[in-house]
C-alpha cells in the first residue's frame, strides 16, 4: 500500500469541510486499536517489518532438526511445513478470492501424481528435479484454470458443490485409471510406487539417513515455503490482490469499478492450485509413492480447519493455524497427551464461556465435588465399577475422579454418548442457575465418555477434539486467531 503524505499540502487547515458529519468531526481520533498496555505492545510490534518476522520464523523452524534428533518429530515437522504450504494456497482461493473451493486437495493430488508420472519407473520418464517441479506447478495452475472455467459464474454453495464434484472426479479417475482405455495410467488403488527422490545440487536427497528421517527434505520444504510466502505476499499487496479482496467483499461493486471479475476468479483458482501442486511434488518425492485416497476429505477438512482457525485471509494466520493443528493432530494419537489436551480444552472452554469468575469457581468446585461423590458412591455399590483405574500421574488423578470400569457393558458407550449430546443440548436451552445445575453433571458425563469411550478409539476421538477446539475458537474469535477484522456495512 502506498502512503500519500505528499498531499497534505493541499488540505485546508480550516475546520470541517463540505459534507462532513459533525459527530464524526468531534471524534477525529477514532482508531481501530485496542487500548491500554495491549495497544503499546501492538504499536511496538507494528514497527517490526514483515520480512523480519519471516526470517525469524524460518530461522526458528530450521532449528527443529538441530534440537530434536528423533526421526518421528522431524517427520512431523516436515508434514507441518507441507500443511503450511497447503494452507497458504487455500488462503488464496478462500481467504482472498472468497471462493468456497471444496476440491482444493485434488490439486495437491494432481501435483503429486504429475510428479509421480514425470519421475518414476512407471513410464520410465525421469525428468531432472529442476525441470519436473516447474512443469508440475504449471500443470497445477492449468488444471486450476480449467476447473475455474465452468465454475467462474457460480458463487457460494453452488461453487462448493461443483468443486466437490471435481474432487470426487479426481478420486474416481485415479482409482480407475489402471484400466483407462486398456492402459494402466495411474496404478489404480495401488497407486504409483518407486518415485524418484528430489535431485538437487548433484545429489539425490535421501529420506532415511542411518535409519533416521533425513533433514534435507525438511529444509527443501522450508525453502519452498519461504519462496511461496514471499511471492504470495507480493501478489496480495499488488493491484490484483486488492482486486481479489474487493471481489470477495462485493462482486457487483467490483464489476461496476471495471474489474474483470471472471478473470480474477480464474487467477485465484490458478494460484491456489499451483501452490497445492508444488506441495504435491514434495509429498510424492518424500514418500516415493502416491495413492488416491491420500487426497480426500479428511485432508480437505484438516486444511480448511487450519485456514479457518488461523484466520482466513491472513498469511501469518493460516501458517499459525497449520503450526498448531498439525502437531496437535499428532499429539492426539497418544492417549496420555490427548487426555491432557481434552481436559485443557474442557476447562479452558468453560472458563472462557463463563461471564463471571464467581460462576466459574462455583461450577469448577461443584463439578469436582460431584465427581468424587459419584466415584465413591460407585465404589460403595460395586467395586468393579472403578476397577479400570490406572495408578499415578495425571491419568491416575483423573481416574480417582471418573468412574472407570475395567469391563464396559456393551450398552454403556452408545447410551452415555447419546446422553451427553442430549445433556449438552439441554444446557444450551437453560438459563441462569438452572444452567449451572445442569452443567455440572454434563461436564462429568463428558469426562466419563472421554475416559471410557473416546480413548478406546483414538482415531475418531482426535478429530472430535479438533472440532471442539474449533467450536470454542469460533465463538471467541469468529475471524480466527490472526484473521482480518470483519467490518460490515449495514
Amino acid at each position: 500500500m502506498t502512503d500519500s503524505t505528499p498531499h497534505s499540502s493541499s488540505i485546508p487547515a480550516s475546520g470541517p469541510a463540505v459534507g462532513q458529519d459533525e459527530w464524526v468531526a468531534r471524534h477525529a481520533a477514532r482508531r481501530l486499536m485496542p487500548v491500554g498496555p495491549l495497544r503499546t505492545v501492538e504499536e511496538r510490534l507494528r514497527i517490526v517489518p514483515w520480512w523480519a518476522w519471516l526470517v525469524l520464523f524460518i530461522a526458528a523452524m530450521s532449528l527443529l532438526p538441530v534440537v530434536e534428533s528423533s526421526g518421528y518429530v522431524r517427520r512431523v515437522g516436515f508434514d507441518t511445513v507441507l500443511y503450511m504450504l497447503l494452507a497458504l494456497g487455500l488462503n488464496v482461493v478462500v481467504g482472498w478470492g472468497g471462493l468456497l473451493d471444496l476440491g482444493y486437495v485434488a490439486f495437491y493430488g494432481v501435483g503429486a501424481y504429475a510428479y509421480a508420472l514425470l519421475d518414476s519407473d512407471k513410464f520410465g520418464v525421469h525428468l531432472p528435479t529442476l525441470v519436473a517441479v516447474p512443469v508440475v506447478v504449471v500443470i497445477g495452475a492449468v488444471v486450476g484454470f480449467l476447473l475455474g472455467l465452468p465454475s467462474r459464474r457460480l458463487t457460494g454453495d453452488y461453487l462448493a458443490i461443483v468443486t466437490l464434484f471435481f474432487l470426487q472426479l479426481f478420486q474416481t479417475v485415479m482409482t480407475n485409471g489402471d484400466s483407462a482405455f486398456g492402459h494402466n495410467l495411474t496404478g489404480g488403488p495401488n497407486g504409483i510406487l518407486r518415485i524418484d527422490p528430489l535431485h538437487l545440487f548433484g545429489h539425490d536427497l535421501t529420506v532415511q539417513h542411518q535409519g533416521v528421517f533425513a533433514v534435507s527434505y525438511f529444509y527443501v520444504a522450508l525453502g519452498f515455503f519461504a519462496v511461496v510466502f514471499v511471492a504470495l505476499r507480493f501478489v496480495n499487496s499488488s493491484r490484483t490482490g486488492r482486486a481479489w479482496r474487493s471481489l470477495r467483499e462485493d462482486p457487483l461493486a467490483a464489476e461496476a469499478m471495471g474489474m474483470p471479475v471472471n478473470w480474477l476468479k480464474l487467477m485465484s483458482f490458478s494460484f491456489g492450485a499451483a501452490v497445492a501442486a508444488l506441495t504435491g511434488t514434495l509429498f510424492a518425492a518424500l514418500n516415493a509413492s502416491v495413492f488416491p485416497l491420500t487426497f480426500y476429505f479428511v485432508l480437505l477438512i484438516t486444511v480448511y480447519t487450519m485456514v479457518i482457525l488461523g484466520g482466513s485471509g491472513s498469511q501469518p494466520g493460516v501458517v499459525a493455524g497449520a503450526l498448531i493443528i498439525s502437531p496437535l493432530l499428532e499429539m492426539l494419537r497418544d492417549p496420555g497427551k490427548s487426555r491432557i489436551i481434552f481436559f485443557a480444552v474442557l476447562i479452558g472452554g468453560v472458563g472462557l464461556a463463563a461471564r463471571r469468575s464467581r460462576t466459574l469457581g462455583v461450577a469448577a468446585a461443584a463439578t469436582i465435588a460431584f465427581g468424587f461423590a459419584v466415584h465413591e458412591l460407585a465404589r460403595a455399590i460395586d467395586a468393579s465399577w472403578v476397577s479400570g483405574e490406572k495408578a499415578g500421574g495425571f491419568a491416575g488423578a483423573v481416574d480417582h475422579w471418573v468412574v472407570h470400569p475395567a469391563q464396559l457393558a456393551s450398552w454403556i458407550p452408545p447410551v452415555s454418548y447419546i446422553g451427553l449430546i442430549a445433556a449438552t443440548l439441554l444446557v444450551t436451552t437453560l438459563h441462569g442457575r438452572l444452567r449451572l445445575v445442569a452443567l455440572v453433571p454434563t461436564l462429568y458425563l463428558s469426562a466419563f465418555v472421554w475416559e471410557n469411550v473416546m480413548l478406546a478409539k483414538p482415531e475418531p476421538a482426535r478429530y472430535i477434539v479438533l472440532g471442539l477446539i474449533l467450536i470454542a475458537l469460533m465463538i471467541l474469535r469468529p475471524n480466527g486467531l490472526l484473521g482480518e477484522r470483519r467490518v460490515e456495512i449495514v
Binding site: M1, T2, S4, P6, H7, S8, S10, I11, P12, P16, A17, V18, G19, Q20, D21, W23, V24, A28, R30, R31, L32, R239, R242, A243, R245, S246, E249, D250, L252, A253, A254, E255, A256, M257, G258, M259, P260, E484, R485, R486, V487, E488, I489
Partner: protein, 234 residues
C-alpha cells in the same frame, strides 16, 4: 455527438419487461437527472448503461460507438464511472485502497487523481488509513464519489445519492455534485428526490413503469403540473 445514448432499449428480467423502448441521451458536460418512483426502472437503466444487464433490443452508445455487446470493464474504460446505490464500499479495506480500486483499470491511480479527490474531500485524506466500513454514512458517500472520480470519468452515474442521508447532508451532497459538474464531468443523477435534483440539473427525464413519460429542461419540469402531482406530492 452524444456522450452517452440509449437508443430504443428494451431490457427484460426473464419474462418481465422492465425497460420499454427507452431512449435517452447525455451530451458532454451536462448534468441530467433521471426521476421516477419505485419500480419505474431507474436502477435497471443504470445497469443497462453499465452492461451489468444486457438489453434484448436496442443499442447503447458511448461517444457514437456501439457498446451494447461490450462488458462492463470496457465501458468503464471508455469513461463511465458509478456511485452505486447504498454506496457499496469495500468495507474491510481502507479508504485509500477503496480509492485505488476505483482506478483499477488505470493501474491504481496517479498522484494527481488522489490530489483531486482529496481537494474535493479533505476528510478522505485524513482518514485514508481507516477501514471504509467504520466510516459514517456521509463519509462513506464521499468515499464512493471519490472512488468513482478516481477513474477520471467523462460521465459519472449516481444512483440515489441522497439515500440514507440527513436532509442537511443531502443538500451538501448536491453541492458537491454541482462542484464536480463544474469541473467538466457530465453527470447522470438517478433520484427519487425530484426537488433537489431538478434544482441543479440542466435537463431531466421522468420514468414510469419502464417508459419515458416526460423529458425537458429542468426549469420546465419544475413547473410541470403532472410531475408536481406525481412526484412532488403537491
Amino acid at each position: 455527438m452524444s456522450l452517452l445514448e440509449l437508443d430504443n432499449v428494451d431490457t427484460y428480467y426473464g419474462q418481465i419487461h422492465i425497460l420499454q423502448g427507452l431512449s435517452i441521451r447525455i451530451e458532454p458536460g451536462e448534468l441530467v437527472c433521471l426521476l421516477g418512483g419505485n419500480a419505474s426502472g431507474k436502477s435497471t437503466t443504470l445497469k443497462t448503461i453499465l452492461g451489468i444487464v444486457r438489453p434484448r433490443t436496442g443499442m447503447v452508445r458511448i461517444e457514437g460507438e456501439d457498446v451494447t455487446k461490450r462488458p462492463t470493464s470496457y465501458r468503464i474504460g471508455r469513461g463511465l464511472a458509478i456511485v452505486p446505490e447504498n454506496r457499496r464500499l469495500f468495507a474491510p479495506m481502507t479508504v485509500l485502497e477503496n480509492l485505488e480500486m476505483g482506478a483499477y483499470l488505470r493501474g491504481g491511480g496517479a498522484k494527481e487523481d488522489f490530489e483531486r479527490v482529496y481537494e474535493l474531500f479533505p476528510l478522505l485524506h485524513e482518514r485514508r488509513a481507516q477501514l471504509a466500513g467504520t466510516l459514517s454514512g456521509g463519509e462513506q458517500q464521499m468515499v464512493a464519489m471519490g472512488r468513482a472520480l478516481m477513474s477520471r470519468p467523462k460521465l459519472l452515474l449516481m444512483d440515489e445519492p441522497s439515500m440514507g442521508l440527513a436532509p442537511i447532508l443531502v443538500e451538501k451532497n448536491f453541492e458537491i455534485i454541482e462542484q464536480v459538474h463544474q469541473s467538466g464531468v457530465a453527470i447522470l443523477v438517478v433520484e427519487q428526490n425530484a426537488n433537489v435534483s431538478l434544482s441543479i440539473a440542466d435537463r431531466g427525464y421522468v420514468l414510469s413503469t419502464g417508459r419515458l413519460v416526460l423529458e425537458g429542461k429542468a426549469a420546465d419540469l419544475r413547473e410541470n403540473e403532472d410531475l408536481r402531482k406525481a412526484y412532488l406530492g403537491r
